[in-house]
Subunit: 548 residues, 2 copies
């Protein structure tokens, strides 16, 4: 058997898939296109490309080399966007620090990742000073002033970001290297144990960019992305590379609006003045935007917003649609690139009514090209695509993480059997539409039945007066587990547990849930707020702790 | 210095970029989508996928293995589409035979490529019989009957295509292998020497699919491709993998119409009945379609057609636009994947008038994402992007051929200095728009000036009564070379050389060409037809032979 490999002629360029290649022609084609920071600062792609060179030159002068790790602690700024390119393009690793973690967790991740240099916004200097004595690898700190003037600090400051860039050459020679080189690292805060480092290679980032763009743009009706869009991220840049969208925006040469620290009023103002058309965020942020825009001062129609991080509820979806927002769900995890599915209608399909449209926009979605998404039992056997059979979503795709940083056991669990295990339980319809019904660990096992906590939350959300809810399984001597609901009611509502229970029992008759799914009255609790993780997901671990 | 490579956990799937991955989710998402052969035969993507498995099983039973080469000689059929997937997915090489070459050239290519098995349409059996005794590697032949019944032949027939597929299992286990494995080979007929074998790897095909789709679909106005399109190739499947478009169509799950042997009336009928919206062809074929559709029986509006192979003339472009065809140029070569640029308007740009629109649609175009397209002098230095400086187009892209099959010298020439040399001379504007002015070898060097033969052809085409023209340089004792024009006039026109010369001289005053570019009267010849290569390009080699 021949291997049948193509042997390049010696002079052929073998073109590694590197982050720098995403810029191959944007300078020529979109040199004059704009990037703005909060509408206050504005420069062209041509300048952007030069600043990437300056950043690399400046970092090199601080000793950053191929293989170094450079951490970034900043709001969503043009500087963050520059670091998305400049740091990986040097062959160094961009470490996007989750600034919402506790100081001790940030310390753990900085030491675990081996960060040598930190680019840090003045706002986060106190946080860094707090853990300064315990930092094991950080040699130098670059301070981002952002208009506050030079702060006093005990940290080893190498200079101020803008001052260093001004003094550095734009003509950094970005070398070629292996496309499997680590480009970016961040930490995922699981429900147990230390945060786990997730890394993506240059190849991963490039392939995620290409496949996601294909999925978003190759629709006629419901085309979600095109070259005339104006992009503003509303998912933090430290969160799974802002879902990979900044790389897409730059590759397409879109006008980019970096909003800095998120404040609903500013986000809405930027939307209006910069004519933003494409964003992505978690449901909580969409809710905040809708609330802040009440009164009708803002025309939100035509704004395309991908919702991820947690499920898009039909109620929120309907409220957004009523404002003209083209809202739809995306699916992925920290470990999956992240985008592996999008809630896009099948080509040519027209929903029968608003209810069906809402259902489809809130669905987990259809897999993007080249993603092999399977719904399997615990033996990795495929389950029928009948919209009923529940199994775990397992994945193969050209951009998934290949394991956790220095965590061999967790890495092997993630990839058991050669498929990435999402721990999401879902059904798939004949049309390839996937709907998650729960997380494996959140499924409530009661009386021999599996009850989806998410399904119960969804039905509770339909009850008038409910703002938010979370359902978990609590131990029960007789049934093994029983569902327990935590509910935040809207201001002024006089919601009672009886009402919730009655409404759920009505759905038992309508066969939308089993009778085992309805919590007893004393397992329906009204609370002031639902605990959330640093990225805005419901923290069921905390809720379980409260009931233990 | 660390290498900073990501080491996958042992169980991780490292996802090679293989042709089979383009089918990752099309079975689930588009299982019911249709593929039709001439409107006579029709089956679903689900059946398509099964037939790919059957084809591989059948070929395996004939001894085809990883590394084997399987040749195909067929019209543009569903069988050809099956072979685009089934053969490479086995790890074998798909060899698409140019059936328009002479029997001796076909013999050369079959022997050079080492084809072991040939899938051959009954129409091409006589051609193969003619060279039978000289075939060095062909063990077996699979006959494609296509309704003619079983022909008698002296060739070693292993069976009939449909019969073999019926008897074979759809459940072929397509293994993973290195993404640099040769997937497809074909021969390019240069102007000198033997045909040269061009190969593409699985990786090349996948990356070409992703980047070209991104370029075609991510436009708002002028979106050229989306999931509701109906695709019909009108570039032969043997010609640079039909410009890679069949792979794109299958990945997007489009309805596909395979037209068989090209006949303008049938193509127009299929366009109408199957509601074709997306095609690609050479200018000559577009001209034939326009002629065959005269009389207004066919509504061609909304048909998106990419023109490649040779330049789209403004006259033809205007004629197509007048019929409502969304016609535009694409740029590439056999060696380049092929698509490296598309004549798409910059986002948001509205042409000032029809003339400008035509000019932009006929341009060489703007590079697609990840394509590094440079205009350089002979020292590989960049020339200004001023729309004036003429230099060679050189390329880097993730899907270019890495050299010619068993031709080390030609391969090194192709890749001299680490860039693929197109031998096309072009200018680039500030907006990244590229316009080819000539082939390096077709540039006419006269009196110390370089004259673009294509520019002269374009101006001649504007003269009423001209159907087609070709301009070459002929030796001249005083000037080195002088331009000579060969012209085909329209039926019934009484065009004279004087008229041509007068019109060209008028353009000298208008500064569109230099006076050196105008041929003398005795170098303007009227001919019955312009010689063409097997793929429909003007064959200047033949014309030079005539004047030598």
């Amino acid at each position: 058997m021949q291997d049948n490999l193509i042997t390049p002629t010696p002079s052929a360029y073998t073109y590694p898939l590197l982050v720098k290649q995403l810029l191959s022609n944007s300078q020529h084609l979109y040199g004059e296109q704009q990037i703005t920071y909060r509408g206050e600062l504005r420069y062209s792609y041509r300048t952007f490309r030069q600043r990437i060179g300056r950043l690399a030159s400046a970092l090199a002068s601080l000793g950053v080399r191929h293989g170094s790790t450079v951490a970034v602690m900043d709001w969503d700024s043009h500087r963050y966007l520059e670091s998305y390119f400049g740091i990986p393009m040097m062959g160094a690793t961009l470490f996007t620090v989750n600034v919402r973690l506790s100081a001790q967790q940030i310390l753990y991740t900085l030491n675990d990742a081996g960060a040598e240099v930190v680019l840090v916004h003045a706002d986060f200097l106190p946080l860094l000073e707090e853990i300064q004595t315990e930092l094991q690898c950080v040699r130098q700190v670059v301070v981002i002033e952002d208009g506050q003037g030079t702060p006093q600090t005990s940290l080893p400051v190498a200079g101020e970001y803008e001052a260093l860039l001004s003094a550095a050459s734009p003509d950094f020679a970005f070398a070629d290297f292996d496309e499997h080189t680590r480009a970016a690292t961040f930490y995922t805060t699981g429900t147990t144990g230390d945060p786990k480092g997730v890394s993506y290679s240059h190849r991963d980032i490039v392939l995620h960019t290409l496949t996601t763009t294909m999925a978003l743009s190759a629709q006629r009706d419901g085309q979600r992305l095109h070259r005339e869009d104006v992009y503003m991220p509303i998912t933090p840049m430290f969160h799974v590379l802002a879902w990979g969208m900044p790389y897409i925006a730059v590759t397409l040469g879109l006008k980019i609006v970096m909003p800095g620290r998120y404040a609903p009023d500013l986000l809405l103002k930027l939307h209006d003045t910069e004519r933003v058309t494409f964003s992505h965020c978690v449901p909580t942020l969409l809710q905040m935007l809708l609330q802040a825009s009440e009164g009708g001062m803002h025309d939100l129609s035509g704004w395309k917003i991908i919702i991820g991080g947690s499920a898009l509820s039909p109620a929120l979806c309907e409220a957004a649609l009523a404002r003209g927002i083209d809202v739809f769900a995306g699916y992925g995890m920290s470990e999956t690139g992240p985008v592996v599915a999008l809630a896009q209608l099948p080509p040519g399909y027209k929903p029968a009514n608003l209810q069906e449209e809402v259902r489809m926009r809130c669905a987990t979605g259809r897999p993007v090209p080249m993603v092999d998404l399977r719904i399997v039992d615990d033996q990795l056997h495929d389950l029928p695509h009948d919209g009923k059979a529940q199994g775990e979503i397992v994945l193969r795709a050209p951009f998934l993480t290949k394991g956790y940083f220095k965590k061999p056991t967790a890495s092997e669990e993630l990839w058991a059997g050669g498929y990435l295990h999402t721990q999401d339980v879902a059904v798939m319809g004949r049309d390839g539409f996937v709907q998650i019904v729960d997380r494996i660990k959140d499924v409530i096992k009661t009386g021999g039945e599996w009850v989806s906590s998410i399904e119960v939350e969804r039905l509770i959300a339909e009850v008038p007066g409910v703002l938010e809810s979370a359902v978990i399984g609590v131990p029960d001597a007789k049934w093994g587990e029983r569902p327990m609901a935590f509910i935040v009611s809207k201001a002024g509502s006089r919601l009672k547990a009886e009402t919730i229970r009655e409404r759920l029992l009505a759905h038992v008759e309508g066969k939308r849930i089993s009778k085992y799914a309805v919590p007893e009255l004393d397992r329906i609790a009204f609370v002031a707020e639902i605990p959330k993780t640093s990225v805005g997901k419901i923290d069921k671990k905390v809720l379980r702790g409260r009931t233990a």
